[in-house]
């Protein structure tokens, strides 16, 4: 009896020793790769990481200092750049709505169990994967090359990416619905379209709204970046301000972007409450 226990104890401690050895080797390898990678990067950089670290806060502080030096004339800049912000928000809005419509169609076609032609499901899923695979920036650069610098390429790029990203989220919402209402509607002799309209849409609309608004917020940021590569709007202004080291202007532009994101966040929660209705807060 005791020999069995001795045997087991030995086997266990052997295994334990082996496991610790592997852990140590793994940790050693990690440290080696990190250190090696860091020295290589340090050699290749024009500046040094350690030297640069001390200058890390120089740029932000320059911007703030310059804004303060500007004094009261800083505030009118917000107004001056407002049209650029509106252009960017416009690009994002059109792109989000266009992409949202495609996302809606793709989501319904890619949800199993809603009664769509089964082979359509993987086809639509791959289409959405494709739409998500291309970063907006690459697509916009490509389209600007063909269509010239204007908001249109940015809108197409944003819409394309949004269709894939939102479509996936929408179809996940669709998969989690309660199927009772659908069965009830089928039993009344409703067509497929009517079943989707009354059995699915009322259930998923609140989540759709919140995902759509979240995507709108993301798309504002994306549109601002696309301005850097020639799509106009607040991105173009930012590029100018940063390029010409105009600290006060840069600060004003960041301020505007921040305010826009906050405003949309607030509107989003308000709208979601409206769509969800009071009932959601009354019933247990």
């Amino acid at each position: 009896m005791s020999t069995t226990i001795d045997h087991l104890e030995k086997a266990f401690s052997d295994a334990e020793r082996k496991r610790r050895l592997y852990t140590a080797l793994f940790l050693g390898a990690t440290v080696f790769v990190m250190a090696g990678g860091f020295t290589i990067a340090e050699d290749m950089n024009s500046g040094g990481f350690i030297d640069g670290l001390s200058q890390f806060l120089d740029y932000p502080s320059d911007i703030v200092v310059e804004s303060f030096e500007e004094g009261w004339t800083w505030w009118p800049m917000l107004l001056e750049f407002a049209p650029a912000l509106i252009e960017t928000i416009n690009m994002a809005a059109v792109g989000t709505i266009l992409g949202g419509v495609f996302a809606l169609v793709l989501a319904f076609c890619s949800t199993r169990g809603l009664g769509v032609w089964p082979p359509l499901v993987p086809i639509c899923r791959r289409m959405m994967d494709g739409a998500r695979a291309f970063p907006e920036l690459i697509l916009a650069l490509f389209l600007i090359f063909i269509l010239g610098a204007s908001p249109v390429p940015a809108i197409i790029a944003v819409a394309f990416h949004t269709a894939g990203a939102l479509g996936k989220l929408f179809s996940e919402v669709n998969e989690n619905i309660d199927r009772g209402p659908l069965e009830g509607l089928t039993a009344t002799g409703a067509t497929w379209f009517q079943r989707m309209r009354f059995g699915v849409l009322p259930q998923v609309l609140p989540n759709y709204t919140s995902y759509l608004l979240l995507r709108f917020e993301i798309n504002i940021r994306a549109s601002a970046i696309l301005g850097f590569v020639g799509a106009g709007g607040i991105g173009a202004e930012l590029r100018k301000a940063i390029g010409w080291s105009q600290g006060a202007e840069t600060a004003a532009l960041f301020m505007l972007l921040f305010a826009a994101i906050v405003a949309i966040d607030q509107a989003s929660s308000y709208l979601r409450r409206r769509v969800t209705g009071d009932a959601a807060f009354q019933t247990a």
Binding site: G180, A187, T188, G189, F193
Partner: protein
């Protein structure tokens, strides 16, 4: 007359409904009883054509409905309304809209997209709600109503379909005794006043005896009993449920007055308290 001829439904290797043959005269109120899994729900779903039989034929007034497709299939579902244990309303829509959904069959796609129900549809829905004494809830969200109210909304939705048959799949299984009585009374009244054939799956034998003119018992997919309420004796019920002497329907009875029914043999009073599952 609704005719089932050798109706069979198989799911893989499992036979859920096995060569069921019987007919239901127009205007009858029929109860189907049997254990869970006996094939009662599957039979009703095949009748409404939520699913298709694997074999056999279901026909209504001589017209086969088991092979319908496309528009004809949708029209048949509208003629053969169905209510469910879990009500299957759209909880986030108001009661009135839920009832009007019974009118979707034959309504155009664009009209349904924008919820453009006609004046007549709204009127019919309100009349149906009023008949079931719940017109005052018309503007509430359906999900906020009690179970009994929701089931009556579902019956109102069935009514505006102007059906020839109403199928009820365990309509009172998740309701308290008082609401169960309201729902069964409503079904009985519709059956009597409109001459609509009602077929109801039931779990409680006293309900079946009290409300149904005829009772069909199913076991393992097959019909094993057919008869009037008086024929459903305790022995007959034991045979349907495959139960022995321990079977005591008073323990599961939900009737308000506590007596299964005058027809049932009186149970000797017991001293030991019964354990009632919550």
């Amino acid at each position: 007359m609704l005719d089932f001829r050798s109706v069979t439904k198989r799911f893989g290797s499992v036979t859920a409904v096995d060569r069921v043959t019987f007919s239901v005269p127009t205007g009858q109120m029929l109860g189907i009883i049997g254990r869970s899994g006996a094939g009662k729900s599957t039979l009703l779903k095949m009748t409404n054509r939520l699913s298709a039989p694997s074999n056999g034929e279901i026909s209504w007034d001589g017209r086969s409905v088991s092979a319908l497709k496309g528009r004809d299939l949708l029209a048949w579902r509208a003629e053969c309304a169905m209510i469910f244990q879990q009500f299957n309303l759209v909880p986030r829509l108001d009661v009135l809209t839920n009832v009007m959904l019974g009118r979707l069959n034959g309504m155009g796609t664009v009209k349904s997209l924008f919820k453009l129900f006609s004046e007549a549809d709204r009127r019919a829905a309100l009349v149906a709600l009023d008949r079931l004494d719940i017109a005052q809830t018309a503007l509430q969200q359906a999900g906020t109503l009690s179970g009994g109210q929701q089931q009556r909304v579902a019956i109102a939705r069935a009514l505006v379909q102007q059906p020839k048959i109403i199928l009820a799949d365990e309509p009172i299984a998740s309701l308290d005794p008082l609401n169960a009585k309201l729902v069964m009374d409503a079904l009985k009244r519709i059956n009597r006043e409109e001459g609509i054939t009602v077929i109801s799956n039931l779990h409680t034998l006293d309900t079946a005896r009290q409300y149904c003119e005829r009772i069909v018992g199913m076991s393992q997919g097959a019909v094993v009993f057919e008869g009037g309420p008086d024929d459903l004796t305790t022995d007959a019920a034991r045979a349907i449920y495959g139960a022995g002497e321990e079977f005591d329907e008073a323990a599961t009875s939900t009737s308000i007055d506590g007596r299964p029914s005058p027809e049932a043999p009186a149970e000797p009073a017991r001293e030991t308290p019964k354990v009632v599952g919550l």
